[in-house]
Amino acid sequence: MNTKRYLLAGVGLLFSVSICAAPVWERSYTLEAGGNYAGAASAMAIVLQQSPTHEIALMRRAWLSYLQGHYNKALDDYQQVLLINPKSIEARLGLTLPLMAQLRWQEAAVEARKIIDLSNWNYTAHLRMMVCEEALQQWETLASHATELSAHYPSDATIWVYLARAEAWQAHTELAKAAYGKVLELMPSHTEALAYVQKN
């Protein structure tokens, strides 16, 4: 009899928490949609006050901190998520954003590479790693990386653009033209590709 009562109380408590929590999340999403990132983060603070290791709330606060330009705060929250859930690809992808915003390209590339080790052909991780390689002017690396990735995403114009830029910086004009040619097949009015092909 007692067990049944406790079970009912437990279910009731869970139900009341989810009923109470829902408006907080809704308010947070509404405020974010209206551009009020600080307000949206404050709503998450309420959740985190009750449950400091709430993974989704931490992820969300990290994202909202990033949107506000509070990059170090965002990094702290993403790191905390990784302590709670070391398998989280989302948190590691999250880390790359404030790192790139702080121009910490080497560090962002290392984090992107960790994701690639977990999930070999994760598109976002590869793309962010290529952004870092471009910023670090690692043209040879970028060219081989973009070539590899284009085999997996052959109709993605962005990857061909990175390949073309890497070849152009190495003065491999014909290879750059070939890559920009692919871009134009996918996006015929691509300004950068048109300009390069016309000039060369």
């Binding site: 330009g69 509070h70 990059y71 170090n72 705060k73 702080q102 121009l103 910490r104 390209w105 080497q106 560090e107 590339a109 290392v110 590479r113 690639i116 070999n120 052909w121 790693m129 870092c132 690692q138 040879e140 690396t141 081989s144 990386h145 590899e148």
Partner: protein, 325 residues
């Protein structure tokens, strides 16, 4: 039997395909957490018009390790041989010096600053066989705080250097030097040019064991001021062409200056100088730096004509090869 073999082949191909997918990644290099640099360097200076100095030859190596964009350390050691002028027929007289350099820095990117803050501390020392001991046992601690905005268009730093020189064996005097170097740098022409101004404010002081002759070790000066100017043009790398051209000039007076990993421990006042440096990016991990310049010095009163100062010049050639891996 054929069916079994076919199924076996299918199973093998399924098993091998994830391995192939893994191997395909080998072609994408791993980004390094540590970046290491080795910088062997060589300098030769020849003096014109000096009563004492003939030339200096120096060689050494700097090793640097940088961890991501967080911080790094650097160590350097250099040997220098100063050949002094001697009377005709006399055996060559030299002064042998060892310079040691140790540096550590930590980088920060505080929110709202829009750039990178760096805190650095350098330790320098010079040891030689100077019989007067005045240029021997030189130790320097030099902290610096610097800021570079994310756009890499504005830079400033504030550096301090506190030096102690050896106690003189001739008059028991000692010498302490405090240097302040505020620096401002900025980019022009969409980052194609870089201009930098560094002020050297250098003050000399006595301490408890020093006598009034301390100022004699600084040519009776209590302080010197100089302005160092650098202009760098970044070029698009082309075959045989340098990737950077750097022009430098120094105006004013500078004595016992600490400039990066270089320290000056001789009592001759540097009063002006010009330099030209070219940097070649040999490949993705090697850089060649060739620099040449002419500096003007004042060695104080002449031993043969005490009413006149000895003014002389030093022309130098500096070579370094930076290797990164």
């Amino acid at each position: 039997m054929k069916a079994i073999l076919r199924n076996l082949l299918i199973i093998l191909s399924i098993l091998s395909s994830p391995l192939q997918a893994q191997n395909e990644l080998v072609n994408i290099p791993n980004p390094h957490e540590w970046t290491l640099n080795a910088l062997p360097q060589f300098t030769f200076v020849t003096y014109n018009g000096s009563e004492k100095r003939d030339n200096v030859m120096s060689y050494g190596v700097d090793l640097a390790a940088q961890y991501l964009e967080r911080g790094g350390i650097q160590v350097g050691v250099a040997k220098a041989v100063l050949t002094l002028k001697t009377a005709a027929g006399a055996s060559p007289n030299t002064l042998n010096q060892t310079n040691v350099f140790l540096s550590g820095h930590r980088q920060f990117t505080p929110d709202g600053w829009g750039g990178e803050l760096r805190i650095q501390t350098d330790l320098l020392a010079a040891f030689n066989d100077d019989s007067s001991n005045e240029t021997n046992d030189v130790t320097v601690i030099s902290p610096k705080i610097s800021f570079l905005n994310f756009e890499k268009t504005t830079y400033f730093d504030l550096g301090l250097a506190s030096s102690r020189c050896g106690v003189s064996k001739t008059d028991n005097s000692s010498l302490s030097v405090l240097q302040t170097t505020p620096t401002l740098g900025f980019a022009l022409n969409k980052g194609r040019d870089w201009m930098q101004f560094r002020l050297f404010d250098i003050r000399f002081s006595t301490d408890s064991i020093a006598s009034a002759s301390t100022n004699n070790r600084a040519q009776n000066l209590s302080h010197t001021d100089a302005l160092d100017f650098k202009w760098i043009r970044f070029l698009v790398p082309d075959t045989g062409m340098p990737s950077q051209i750097q022009l430098g000039a120094l105006v004013g007076k500078r004595l016992y200056a600490v400039d990066g990993s270089n320290l000056s421990n001789f009592s001759d006042i540097q009063q002006g100088g010009v330099s030209l440096a070219l940097l070649w990016q040999l490949d993705k991990s090697n850089q060649l730096n060739v620099q040449s310049g002419l500096d003007q010095y004042n060695a104080g009163k002449s031993s043969t004509n005490p009413s006149k100062d000895v003014l002389y010049s030093g022309a130098y050639l500096y070579l370094s090869l930076q290797n990164q891996w």
